[in-house]
């Protein structure tokens, strides 16, 4: 913990740090690769839609001595459609028949009950009409659309449009990856999956927003100083909030992991499993994208802003001048001038305190942990 705490402190001060923004092209590339894989997977393999979307029925029997084959035959004979029968732990059967009408499903339910010699209401049944899944999917899409519009508006107001755009890109990135995983692995898509996917919306953005909030704060008075470019500040802020991001992600993932463990290991299949699986993949993708995609993207967009371009130019000019001065051995003047500068800029740079700046400059003659 103390090592971690120290790491946190050093990250915070910018003594160590990973150059997220500088190496963004690599991460963009990786993300594009993953996204393309996901899209290809989606196009080639398609999604394994659960019976909730195709219409049909799922029956969970009470513990029974009837074998899976027998149950399957009963279900297929009655319904006239292929049935999938799984034997779950504790001797229960899960019978799944797709593309049934509601009427056929009921007949199948009754036939199964008869076969198993139990009352009809002892069989857990989920009968879904063919239009119901469409409804869920349609409403989910509508919800997704509305949410995206609202959140972009909100972020544009609370932060700025560049951040809103970057957050949206990150969000789409997360969703695509999650859906892609489903397509590639062939997990069944159920309403639970849809719930999980939709929850990623809020969560993936939660992470992004935490990072952006730090970024906004550190770049507040950025134009009033000439020490750092926007990209550098963004990177520094990202490193400063890295511990926070990791912690929030871990803490968010832990309960979901609990759900996944219980849902997958204990119940076999069902709602808990579906929700948590989608959430787990989505949350992991969300944490990655808010650090590696969203912030570098903001920096990219920001650097196109004329003001920021001017700033970058000034910073470069100043560094050139400093370098020249340093070569001329005019070190003391440099230190003094810098100190004033820091006073201007300090509000804009997280934790950029006088002695830190002085020290780092003293140590390396350049902003620590930064490129160039």
């Amino acid at each position: 913990m103390s090592r971690l705490g120290n790491l946190g402190a050093r990250l915070y001060r910018g003594e160590v740090g990973y150059d997220f923004v500088g190496k963004r092209k690599i991460w963009y590339g990786i993300s594009i690769l993953i996204t393309i894989t996901a899209i290809v997977g989606l196009a080639v393999r398609g999604l394994n839609m659960g019976i909730e979307f195709s219409g049909g029925a799922v029956f969970n029997t009470p513990p029974t001595s009837v074998s899976a084959t027998q149950a399957q035959r009963t279900a297929e004979d009655t319904s006239g459609h292929a049935a999938v029968v799984q034997k779950l732990g504790n001797k229960t059967l899960r019978v799944q028949v797709s593309e049934l009408t509601t009427e056929q499903s009921r007949k199948t339910q009754e036939a199964l009950a008869k076969k198993l010699d139990v009352p009809v209401n002892k069989i857990n049944t989920d009968i879904v009409g063919p239009s119901w899944g469409d409804q869920i999917a349609k409403k989910a899409w509508t919800g997704l659309g509305i949410f995206m519009i609202l959140v972009v508006i909100y972020l544009a107001i609370a932060f700025e449009w560049r951040m809103a755009v970057a957050a949206l890109v990150a969000l789409i990135h997360d969703l695509t990856i999650t859906v892609g995983v489903y397509a590639l692995v062939g997990f069944e898509v159920t309403p639970g999956t849809v719930i999980g996917l939709l929850t990623i919306l809020g969560y993936s953005l939660y992470d992004t927003v935490v990072v952006f909030d730090g970024l906004k704060e550190s770049s507040k008075d950025i134009t009033k100083q000439t020490r750092f470019t926007y990209s550098e500040i963004a990177n520094r802020s990202l490193n400063g909030t890295l511990v926070r991001s990791i912690n929030t992600t871990v803490v968010a993932l832990l309960p979901v992991a609990g759900l996944l463990f219980i849902g997958g290991g204990f119940l076999g299949a069902g709602m808990l499993n579906d929700i948590s699986l989608a959430l787990f993949v989505g949350l992991a993708a969300g944490a990655y994208s808010s650090i590696f995609i969203a912030t570098p993207l903001v920096a990219d967009l920001k650097e196109r802003d004329p003001q920021m371009k001017a700033l970058t130019k000034r910073v470069r000019a100043r560094r050139a001048a400093d370098a020249a001065k340093a070569e001329a051995g005019d070190a003391s003047a440099n230190a003094a001038g810098e100190d004033e500068d820091v006073q201007d800029a300090a509000a804009g740079v997280v934790g950029q305190r006088g002695e830190d700046a002085g020290r780092s400059r003293g140590r390396g003659g350049r902003p620590s942990g930064k490129r160039r």
Partner: protein, 604 residues
């Protein structure tokens, strides 16, 4: 928001944390007290956790009547379906609209799902039937009804000779007579205003159970006995027997009667109970179908002082038929001048008629209260409801599986919570206590509110909602992390704990608000837009997000302020999680520089 702002303005906000803490403690005690006072100590469980059957019905426009799916029609339909399902003797069945065009019917365990589905799935049958005989609703002891029964029996036998076929002839024959006379009355009405005194609802119907006594019934019987009954009917005797057997005074009896009556064809005569159980009647074939009603509404008549009344309108075919049948009935004596409004085999009202009512509109008045009038109007509207319903989803969960799922959900929650606690303790040490206390407060608030929302708005905890609550552990804990990291950052700046806690707060607060807002936005959009299980999940997520803000503002922050005064934390004990050395704080090198440390928390 107001309180924390105030807190910030007051010097360091340090004078008030006790009060704020007291506030939230009071709120917790109040909620818990309210929970026990309400008599519910566990949340209402949804079908998937408690066991039972759940149907989702989708409304469809009937051909030729587009745009009929609206809130009014859906609510009427809910009312009707509720009547039917509860008519099965099911207690606690709940029927509610969901989204624009879905109705959810939840039937708790122990009910025959098949029977329930039949009730739910079939379309409602509303019809106007002439009343042939009426007797007291109880399954009467031999003497009195025995006598009337015999009378009726004789009468029935006489009628039997006429046979079924004469029925139609007779009724048409009867019609021609009065219809000539009353039609001028109808057309004479100024501006065709649908006011007709002709229809008088039975008083007993308007005030169920109160004024409806044996007296009027006896009177009816007296009158009926001497009247030569032109009642058409084949097996009137059998019907009479059935009527005698009916017991309308108990709920079960009525349910049985309604079921039997609903099962018979519109052209049959039926024996039916009136809704209040006071009267049972033999009714003729359906004279006017409910589908002929084009609208009904409850209005308050101020001009003629008739009080609450129900106006109803017929379409053209219905208007014709209605004029005919009322003309017929008007010539008869009580109870045969009454027609019964029958919904699913149950007589919901049986007003009497004194003239033929033409013009396609009528009015039922007499002793209505606002409630009874709108109830009747609702029933009548259902006949006019241009909607049909399809069962699009049906889920049956046995109590065993429900219990298992609930247990799995709780175990998953416990594991998740445990993992979070372990992580927090490992990383934040003493600070984890604050996080745990806050999580506990959040849990108590969530639980009590969920319990209270059960009776209040019919909130039922289902599996997705449990998932939402578990996921929310993470969201809530995230807020603490944001704040703790802020405080640590401030300490790294070289501050001591007390200023660090106060200076870190405004920034952490903004981050928490912004990110919780995004989370809440997602939940709100999902809740409004989606249906079914997704909605339950969205609700919990939204609720817990709101509570997260409440807890962080009113509990975590004041608690931090108080703890910052404790030596254990303030001195940076290694186990406090705030040890400056462990956080990597360097001793200040140049004291003069610290003065100029310019970070100013002026945002938000």
């Amino acid at each position: 928001m107001a309180a924390p702002k105030k807190g910030r303005r007051s010097p360091g906000g340090q004078g008030r944390p006790g009060r704020v803490l007291a506030l939230i403690l009071i709120a917790m005690v109040a909620l818990t007290g309210g929970m026990f006072a309400s008599g519910h100590t566990t949340p209402r469980l949804g079908i998937d956790l408690a066991g039972g059957t759940s149907f989702t019905l989708e409304a469809k426009n009937q051909p030729g009547r587009p745009n009929a799916i609206n809130a009014t029609n859906m609510n009427t339909a809910v009312g009707i379906i509720e009547r039917r399902v509860n008519g099965l003797g099911v207690t606690e069945a709940e029927v509610q609209t969901q989204g624009d065009n879905h109705i959810i019917v939840n039937i708790p365990k122990g009910t025959d799902a098949k029977q329930a589905r039949q009730q739910v799935g079939t379309t409602a049958q509303l019809g106007f039937r002439p009343v042939l005989t009426a007797t007291a609703g109880v399954k009467t002891p031999e003497p009195v009804p025995g006598a009337t029964g015999k009378d009726k029996g004789d009468k029935g036998k006489q009628d039997e000779k006429n046979g079924d076929k004469s029925k139609d002839d007779k009724s048409t024959g009867a019609t021609t007579k009065p219809s000539g006379a009353p039609s001028p009355t109808a057309s004479a009405k100024p501006q065709g205003r649908p006011v007709t005194d002709a229809l008088k609802a039975d008083e007993a119907d308007a005030t169920p159970g109160a004024s409806a006594s044996g007296k009027p019934d006896a009177k009816k019987d007296d009158k009926k006995a001497p009247t030569p009954t032109p009642a058409p009917g084949g097996d009137a005797a059998a019907l009479q027997k059935k009527l005698d057997a009916l017991d309308c005074s108990t709920k079960e009896g009525r349910a049985k009667a309604n079921e039997a009556a609903a099962a018979s064809a519109p052209t049959d005569m039926i024996a039916a109970c009136r809704k209040d159980g006071q009267v049972k009647e033999i009714l003729g074939p359906v004279a006017v179908e409910g589908t002929n009603v084009s609208g009904a509404s409850a209005v308050f008549d101020t001009q003629q002082g008739k009080g609450w009344l129900v106006q109803l309108k017929f379409d053209s075919a219905g208007a014709k038929k209605f004029a005919q049948v009322t003309g017929q009935l008007a010539t008869k004596q009580s109870p045969q001048n009454q027609f019964a409004i029958v919904l699913d085999g149950e007589v919901v009202s049986d007003p009497s008629v004194s003239t033929s009512i033409g013009g396609g509109s009528a009015e039922i008045s007499g002793g209505f209260t606002q409630q009874s009038a709108s109830e009747l109007a609702n029933v009548l509207s259902y006949g006019a409801l241009p909607l049909s319903f399809d069962v699009v989803n049906e889920t049956t969960v046995t109590a065993a599986l429900g219990g298992e799922q609930l247990r799995a959900g709780l175990v998953a929650g416990a594991i998740g919570l445990f993992l979070v606690i372990v992580y927090l303790v490992a990383y934040y040490r003493g600070l984890a206590l604050v996080a745990l206390a806050s999580l506990a407060v959040s849990a108590i608030l969530t639980y009590t509110i969920m319990v209270l929302l059960g009776p209040a708005i019919g909130f039922a905890l289902n599996l997705p909602a449990v998932c939402g609550a578990i996921v929310a552990i993470g969201i809530t804990a995230d807020s603490f992390i944001v704040y703790f990291e802020r405080i640590r950052d401030e300490i790294r700046e070289g501050r001591t704990l007390r200023p660090a806690v106060e200076r870190g707060w405004p920034r952490a607060r903004r981050t928490i608000l912004v990110s919780d807002f995004v989370s809440f936005l997602a939940a709100a959009v999902l809740f409004v837009v989606t249906v079914g299980k997704v909605q339950g999940f969205a609700f919990t997520l939204g609720l817990t997000t709101l509570l997260d803000v409440v807890v962080v503002f009113f509990f975590t922050k004041p608690l931090m302020t108080i703890l910052a005064r404790r030596k254990f934390f303030a001195s940076g004990h290694p186990w406090s999680g705030l040890d400056p050395a462990r956080l990597g704080v360097r001793p200040p090198l140049r004291a003069s520089r610290r003065r100029s440390a310019p970070v100013d928390p002026k945002e938000a």
